[in-house]
Amino acid sequence: MPTPKIDPLLQVETTCGTLLYELQIIWDEVGETDVDRDKMLLELERECLEVYRRKVDQANRCRAQLRQTIADSEAELAAICSAMGERPVHIRQSDQNAGSLKEELSKILPQLEEMKKRKIERRNQFVEVLEQIQKITNEIYGSTESFSSKTVVDETDLSLRKLEELHRQLHELQTEKSDRLKQVQDYLSMLNELCSVMGMDFKQTVDEIHPTLSDPKGFRSISNNTIEQLATLIKKLREVKIQRMQRLQDLATTMLELWHLMDTPIEEQQMFQNVTCNVAASEHEITEPNTLSVDFIKYVEAEVSRLEELKSSKMKELVLKKRLELEEICRKTHLVPDSECAIEDAIVAIESGLVDAATILEQIELQIAKVKEEAFSRKEILEKVEKWLTACDEECWLEEYNRDENRYNAGKGAHLTLKRAEKARALVNKLPGMVEALASKTVAWEKERGVEFLYDGIRLLSMLEEYTILRQEKEQERRRLRDQKKLQGQLIAEQEALYGSKPSPSKPQSVKKGPRYSTGGASNRRVSLGGAMVPAHKPDSLHSAKATPKTRPSKKSDHLNHRQDDGIPAFSAVRRGLDIAETPVRKHSSTPSAVNGKEPESPLLVRKPFSPISSAVSSKANMTNMLEVEDNGDTSHKMLHPSNDLSHTTTPLKTIPLVDEENRTPKAMPIIPSTPSTLSVPMQTAMTPAPSLAPIPFAITKPVEEIEQSFEERRLASLLSKIQMTSS
């Protein structure tokens, strides 16, 4: 029988049917009883049921297990989610059961896996942060127990918030760490500075606190303990520094005092400049390395003790110096120094060792201070005394002067003496008032202090008194003399009546008054007018004319000397003679015939083109001549455009002033008497026209006006002529 093989159950059923059929056949054959048969069939039924029941049970158990697994997974997932602070992705709801259990499980499992993975990641993050926190904490708090290699992570809370919190904590710790590092760094640099200033080994000092600190690059201990230790160390060192600084400053002050006392040379001081410059420095200002090292302080100490030794050896000298200083002040203020500690005594005392030189020095210094103070109080009166004394001097001088019979004679500086006398008289008139004022001031001073005012050891009041008495006596004497003179006058009058002759009571020299005026300012001015004045007063004015531009008297003599140096000793004499013969010479003046033929180089030749020029010009040339004689003997002169000449000579550069030629000629032919005469000819002409004494000549003599033109006038003229030319 073809049975479809598709359904095994069907097959089983068919097989069961065929088997039952087979069994019936067998039974039939065997002939079993029906009871047996039924019994057998029941048994068969029962066995079958058993099998079914077992299988159902098994399936049921399987189902339960599956359910349990799902529940577990879900629970785990929920736990993880809650630990990670996340909303569960999937919450099963029994009534919404979409698929079979196996489906459900297969859905949940990957989620669970995913979550587990994330959890592990999160956990690792936590571990990492925690480890860092732990590390920094250890660094900071210096817990020596090395932290447990496995950080305990609270598995129940792996939320992001917690992570964040941890991160924050870590950050805080990190900032604290960097703060601490900075602080340590600060402390270290401070320490370094202190060590360098005090000459200590920085490395060693730091090593004592923590060996890691001396390493400039590597890890540094930043624990509480280290920082505390650093702070205390710095405090300690600073105290030491201040101590040393005070010590050094004390030394420096002593040093300065000693230098001052002994006038130590600057070079020697220079070596300790770096010490003394810190005398007034405060602690933080001293930063230079080694300034406070033990060695350095010892070095300075040595110097100070050396100076001290020197001082004691020089004490005598110092006492002398101070004493001199005291005496100088006393002298200036006209005080008499205490004799009790005169130098000699002091020296003897010191040498004999009776007294300590230092105490004497101190005493003298005290005295100096006292004297200075006193001098200050005396100053006002002293100034007055000074004035009074000079007035007295002036009075004496005036008396002497009044006695001098020749006092009105003109002489060098006579006007100065006159002026002085005038001033002295005014001063003398003020004297009584001055004395009175001085006396009252002095009395007031004495009253105030209860001490006598001494001037060079003499009581000032007695000096003043004495002076007043003297003055009164003088006054009496003067009155007496006046009376006597009057009497004498009467006597003379009587004599005259008798004999008719009158002996002059006046001074014999009074005649000399005249020449004084000639030295006055007026004549000076005349002198500066130059040669024009020569004819007016011949013999004197020639000299003055030579000195023309410079009125200083000393120049005059210089000038004359110079002239002689130039080898023309006879020159001035000759000229003087010529001056006298002035008039005839003048006639020759402008005629070239006067030129001496022997002198081809003679200045007159050069001058020839100028001959029509008004004599004003040549006079000017002569003046320069004389000026030049003053300073350069034989350098020839070239003048750049003395403009006056211009209208006549086209190239003014060529004009060689007569001056030097004149100077030269006498040198060339020293003793030819005729030369000077030719020379002097132009000079005379120079003098005649009086270049500009009065404004009138300019008005009359047209040529003069034409000659003198300033550059501007010439420029304008040329401009105008140009314009004319172009316009015509």
Partner: protein, 335 residues
């Protein structure tokens, strides 16, 4: 003929210089403005510190002198015989009056509030610039001089007039009727320039023959004993002295020392009291026509411009240099 002067800077050269000879230049008393008169018939106003030309004022003829009134106006003396007032901001010029000949020099007296002009017509005229225009009202007085006026200088109420014929008249501005003193120059040659000491005790006078005289107003013997003259602006060449005219004198407003400029192109600074030369600036391209210190003495304006001392001839271009003055160059050195 371009200049080839040595490298050491003679000071800053102002751009837009006058195109013909510079007759004078002056600094203002209130600023670093510089007024320049020239033969090119202009007066120019420069801002020396900014090197800018602020104004140019044409005249009828060459301008021989100029001076400031205040920072907004000035005066000029022209060869067309006129005296003009220039208002810088308007570019306006009005004629204060006329002389009978070219006007050689002009000064403004702050003390008298008057303009004083000297002319080749042998007169000095005083003008009141406040008067309405019209000669009748501006002219204060005319004072005859012995000769043509060549140079003027003022200090306080004193006015020194140097004329041709080497005359020097000293006036008191308060009484112009006649000179307080009539003098003759103590130099033997034509006067080029006269300038009063800033302290009012005297004046310096220069001549065409390389010489400067230092004079004092006080006629007492003691004062007159102090006067003296000295030689300057000369050159020794092959044993011969070349003597140059001294065209300009300018006193330093602070130290009282003074600068002289000559046709040799040099500017020298002198200490008159100690009789010393303090400084010589490097040579300028041509003659020094005028000099002026600024109000604080920190700047020195130098006009390097041919002054016609050798007649018509080719010459270096006219230029104005403004140099800053080092204190050391002008401070008196005690002996």
């Amino acid at each position: 003929m371009t200049s080839a002067h040595p490298p050491p800077a003679p000071g800053r050269e102002l751009s837009n210089p006058p195109t013909d000879g510079i007759s004078n230049l002056r600094f203002s008393n209130h600023s670093d403005h510089l007024l320049v008169s020239s033969w090119d018939k202009t007066v120019r106003l420069y801002d020396a510190s900014a090197d800018s030309l602020r104004g140019e004022f044409m005249h009828g003829g060459p301008v021989l002198d100029c001076c400031f009134h205040d920072d907004s106006s000035g005066f000029s003396a022209s060869a067309d015989n006129t005296v003009r007032r220039i208002v810088f901001s308007h570019g306006k010029e009005d004629i204060l009056g006329r002389h009978d000949a070219p006007v050689r020099c002009i000064e403004y007296s702050y003390a008298a509030g008057q303009v004083i002009t000297g002319s080749w017509d042998k007169t000095l005229k005083c003008w009141d610039p406040r008067g309405a225009s019209g000669q009748e009202r501006t002219l204060v007085g005319t004072y005859p001089q012995p000769e043509r006026v060549y140079s003027l200088s003022l200090v306080g109420n004193r006015l020194v007039v140097a004329t041709a014929g080497r005359q020097v008249n000293v006036y008191d501005l308060r009484n112009m009727s006649q000179p307080e003193q009539r003098r003759e120059s103590s130099l033997k040659y034509q006067t080029r320039c006269v300038r009063c000491y800033p302290n009012g005790t005297g004046y310096a006078l220069s001549s065409v023959e390389g010489r400067v005289a230092m004079e004092f107003f006080d006629l007492s013997e003691a004062s007159q004993a102090k006067k003296y003259a000295f030689k300057c602006h000369r050159k020794s060449e092959a044993g011969r002295d070349i003597v140059y005219p001294v065209n300009a004198i300018a006193f330093h407003p602070v130290y009282g020392t003074f600068a002289t400029g000559g046709c040799d192109g040099f500017v020298n600074v002198w200490d008159g009291n100690n009789k010393k030369r303090l400084y010589q600036y490097s040579k300028y391209p041509t003659s020094i026509a005028a000099l002026s210190f600024s109000r604080d003495g920190r700047l020195l304006a130098v006009a390097s411009s041919y002054t016609f001392e050798e007649g018509e001839k080719p010459h270096e271009p006219d230029a104005i240099f403004v140099r800053s003055v080092n204190e050391i160059e002008v401070k008196p050195k005690p002996k």
